[in-house]
Amino acid sequence: MENEKAVNKGIFEAEVLSNQQIRQCYYRLNLQFDAKGSRLFENVAPGQFSELDLSNVSLPETSMIPIHLRDTSAKQILLRRPFSFSDIVVSPLTEGCCVKAEILYCVLGPATVRMMSLKCDDRISVLGPLGKGFMVPDGLKQAILVAGGMGSPPVLHLANHLKQHHPDCEVIAFVGAKSIESFPFTVRIGNAKNLVLEEFERIGIPSHIATDDGSAGYHGFVTDNVRHWLENNPVDPASSAVFACGPEPMLAGTARVAKDFNLPCQVSMERMMACGIGLCQSCAVEVKKNSDTEYQLCCKNGPVFNAEDVVFEEE
């Protein structure tokens, strides 16, 4: 039977270009997609993600494994692991393998421990592109990006995308983390307590930092920082939007702030998932429907949802 539905995702190979430690447990992995992957990712939207098969990647030397992960990292990997991107670069002049992708990851379990040992020329199986990404509405004049900790990569991807494809749109980024040590970015210390996130600075996007412990920037949650800024900098709800990714309580907080200022808000959700393509039904997100709620799938209906639809799990 000929499959009439347009094929928009697939399994392909990626070659590791580089795998560098940014700081502590944060790493940057740069991949070159093969011809099939490049075709599939040519028009990928920021916020769409992929599933990597890391089951054949070997553990690094024991001395390289963070002490607190040595016990659990011995566990074998069976399932793929979902990763969003911090950037996807398409080189229009290159034929075939024209897509390069960047993944920021944090070493926190048996799969990401294995990723530490990926080196130049290694090949891994990628499944993607998956899910629905951020949707940039027509006529968007101002984008307010809100990122928390390891939720930051797809927000950076969106920032890169907006700079390239929507040059008239003013972009401002709010980035929060537990402390000065826990930003998954290249951080430069500027004036007293002032952090500069080079990834945003490079593309001319001002970033406002918040830390839970006050070790850098605004002392408090990133959501409170966004609220203060909006109180002092009125924006036009008709041509502005909020885009957020991070821990669920942060997304819930961002959704509240956006609602208070009548701003449309898209949030990128995270769930434990196996397949990434809607088969296993494990990544349920509770969504409002009429007067009731239903479960939708983070991998297929998301990971980006309209914030007002989501019933957030707040602890």
Binding site: K9, I11, L78, L79, S125, L279, C280, E294
Partner: protein, 310 residues
């Protein structure tokens, strides 16, 4: 379309293009899978469980990975019979493969109502009776562990299946699986599928709580394969062979040799589940591999291998 004549099998009166079937709950409604493979090469697709009323399913986390396996506690999330008829049957109708609908319910009456309604649909070729789901409070495994209840539910559903074959899916979480298998066969089952997942638990040692919101889940994946092969062989020897009832064998199949083990142990067809989550084209690779194995071994039809264990 590429078909392998050496893989054609008869399964409870249905002619399958190959002995490879997608396991319930691991292939959606096949539309997702069609992006990765030609579904006409599959022997059949087993839909996820359909119940009379829609079911939201369990809260998250619904899955957790284990060594060489995973636990799931989805909770039979599904859209219910009405939407299944309206939205999914037209999709299934367009697929060039056999379709088994997996039936779930809280009461015998609910199972019967779903089967009775769907028995009239041309898009559906057979049923799989799910009396072995470990992740719901009512129905599921409570039916599957009691031979008396198995007989009752099997014969009640069989009565309304019209000419469509009824396959009963067995849980491995019993003392003697041959007793539950025999009960299903005595009550009129046309085929047996085994095994469903093993009830299991993973604990978060920091929180000292189970990882899954449902506390327990069903263990699947390569970790269970040797046990599943043993149970298929046991049911084949003790029940199915003499009764002339085919077995759909499953549990952790990921490779061609895994599938062959089940067939040699006594399965007429094999179900692929968890492996599809990692490589959605697993079934295609297994079908290709089985055809190559038959060719290399001089086997004219794969049915020659069923239960050939020495």
């Amino acid at each position: 379309m590429e078909q392998n004549s050496n893989l054609k099998v008869d399964f409870a009166g249905l002619t399958l293009a190959s002995p490879v079937i997608t396991a319930s709950g691991t292939c959606g409604y096949a539309d997702e899978l069609a992006e990765f493979m030609d579904v006409s090469r599959l022997g059949a697709i087993t839909t996820k469980s359909i119940s009379l009323e829609p079911r939201k399913g369990n809260p998250t986390p619904r899955i957790v990975e284990t060594n060489s396996g995973m636990l799931n506690a989805i909770g039979l999330a599904n859209m219910g019979l009405q939407r299944f008829q309206d939205e999914i049957i037209p999709v299934l109708q367009s697929l060039d493969t056999k379709i088994f609908v997996n039936l779930a319910g809280k009461t015998i009456d609910e199972y019967v109502k779903v089967a009775q309604t769907l028995a009239h649909s041309d898009a559906i070729d057979g049923f799989e009776l799910n009396i072995s789901c470990p992740n719901v409070k009512k129905g599921g495994i409570t039916f599957g562990t009691d031979p008396k209840l198995i007989k009752e539910i099997t014969s009640a559903v069989k009565d309304v299946c019209l000419s469509k074959p009824l396959m009963v899916k067995l849980t491995p979480t019993v003392t003697d699986i041959s007793m539950t298998a025999a009960a299903a066969v005595e009550a009129g089952a046309d085929a047996l599928s085994l095994v469903n997942t093993f009830t299991a638990m993973v604990i978060d040692v920091q929180k000292r709580k189970p990882v899954l919101a449902n506390r327990t889940g069903g263990l699947s994946g390569p970790a269970i394969k040797p046990i599943a092969v043993y149970l298929v062989n046991k049911v084949y020897n003790e029940v199915a062979r003499d009764a002339g009832i085919p077995i759909l064998g499953m549990g952790g199949i990921r490779t061609v040799s895994d599938a062959l083990e089940f067939i040699i142990a006594g399965a007429t067809a094999v179900g692929i589940g968890t492996a599809t989550f990692v490589y959605p084209d697993t079934t295609k690779n297994i079908i290709d591999g089985l055809a190559t194995y038959c060719k290399n071994e001089g086997i004219s039809n794969i049915t020659e291998l069923i239960g050939c264990l020495e």
